[in-house]
Amino acid sequence: MNKEPAVTAPGKGTAATYAGAGRDHFAPIVDVRDLEVHFRSRRALRAVQTVKAVDGVSFTIAAGETLGLAGESGSGKSTIARTLVRINRPTAGSVTVAGEDTTRMRRDDLRRYRRRMQMVYQDPYDSLDPRMTVLEAIGEGLSVRGVTRASHRRDTERLLDRVKLPASLVSRYPHQLSGGQRQRVSIARALAVSPEVIICDEAVAALDVSIRAQVLNVLKDIQDDLKVSYLFISHDLSTLRFIADRVAIMYAGRLVEYGTSSQVFGDSRHPYTKALIAAVPTIGGRGGGPRIGLSGEPPDPARLPSGCAFHPRCPLAQDICRADRPALRQKQGGQMAACHMAPDAPAGEASV
């Protein structure tokens, strides 16, 4: 069922890349450290509020790997995506891509950097310019990479083939395409600049289930061929389980659990992760064990609860949870989790 990342794609690097401690010997393509993204809201006659959309998040993505990022709406997933492609600026922390710190990049460096990191957006009806044909949309990316206009058609047809669309679609406008086709065109446009990392921000959430599977398979094939890395953002755990090698769960701007797909889904340690998994609807009533109800609303990011931000909704909450914010620590099972109630791993065990 759920694959071990090391064996999925032959030639994606040695098993050591994915086998816990060995990871440190390989420079990750994306290295995010202590990323903070704060927004200040200024409204007349009101105090300035600071919203900590992302508050101290660290993760890495290896070449050819898929990191899944999950969490409820408002947990900061999309802010991370928008910060990585520099639509938003980081408040603090660093984002290192292929050894280069991108945090303080400006103008020319930034434009060069943008080619390495591309994004596929959620809404296939808004992410393509309605007045541009497929050829023009993908050609825009090709031009950025310096491909001459004469080769646009040929290269566009190649890219369409890569996303398994017929070459005959080159002169279509977005309104003549279906949602799944549009999303593939978005993927082809991202590929046009030969990026090393593609961020998929809820990229399949708006698609029908059968179309979703096709697009996910296209993404996997591209990864096998081109060794691109994905940061795959979704609130749909079954999608992540299918596509992600490692998974990070976010709650209120922080990571609460972070480990390989099998660790997080098969042996989750954080009560929030457990609740999310239990909330996945299953066919035939074979639910994932006893239900842990996830009552209440996600917290207002401008007024986070004291201690562990999850404590008001947590079935295991104790006094310490209300007082102290738990750090992201190695737990039994190997993954990292931020929970006082989950027993830590004995010292010396392999890390994520």
């Binding site: 069922m1 639509i87 990191m117 808004d126 992410s127 990316g141 395409l177 086709q181 096709q214 398979n217």
Partner: protein, 308 residues
Amino acid sequence: MATVNPALDELGTTEPLAVAEPRLLHRALVSLWHDPVALISLLVVVALALVAILAPYFSPYNPNHIFLNGLSADGAPIHPDGTFLLGTDPNGRDVLSRLIYGDRVSLLVGVVATGLASVIGVIVGAIAGYVGGIVESILMRLTDVVLSFPILLFCIALITVTGPSTRNVVLVIAFGYWTYLARIVRSLVLSLKEREFVTAARTLGVGHVKILRRHILPHLVPTIIVYSTLGIATSILIEASLSYLGIGVPVPEASWGQMISQGQQYFQIAPWLLIAPGIALIITVLAFNLAGDWLTDLLDPVTTEIGR
């Protein structure tokens, strides 16, 4: 789970295609068929434009020629008759010829002034909306200052400084009218730049100038067309008002405002002097306004462009 359904994978087109929208030209013809008022106003606009362009062919006489037989024995203007279809004016000139050349002046001033105003308005509005921050504040406060004057009063004040001439009339009207477009364009750009396809172009590494030209400007075209059509009507009215007040197009060049002004004095003995240019002005302004309304419905800039 590993591969969901390889059979589906091969078919890029399993989903039904979205039905293509009917072509714009087709929609235009259909709506004209159902809207005779729009059809007539559009025909009037086309006719006015043709008459203006081909004025020498339509006009029976030179509009500035003073006919020796152009006044009656007691010095009064001549009634409309077989020789002078719309009579003569108090100087003994043919009213129909002056009306036709007046159409040329009105449309020329209307089109050029509005064109100029659109260029300024689009540039100012697009930069303000796209750049934002202090640039936006400065440009939009400037716009507000110009807007805070009634446009006619603003033009009168300017023309008394620059002196009356056809060129100055055009410049003054353009300088008063660009603010309307600047405001509309700014608000459109504000919402356009948040659309995901603009964000996508930015993250692709496309430069700002290219984004403005390729992703923003084309979406403004319907709005610009609609507001320019309405702007032409406004400009023609302002030109007529300025000429009426004697500070517009200088004599002896024919213009409707000036003809109305002159006709007013002779209304008792020669009512055609007032009625002919008056009706011409009303028909022209009405036709442009109705055509503009029809274009608004057809292109529907707000709902198609903002709400997609």
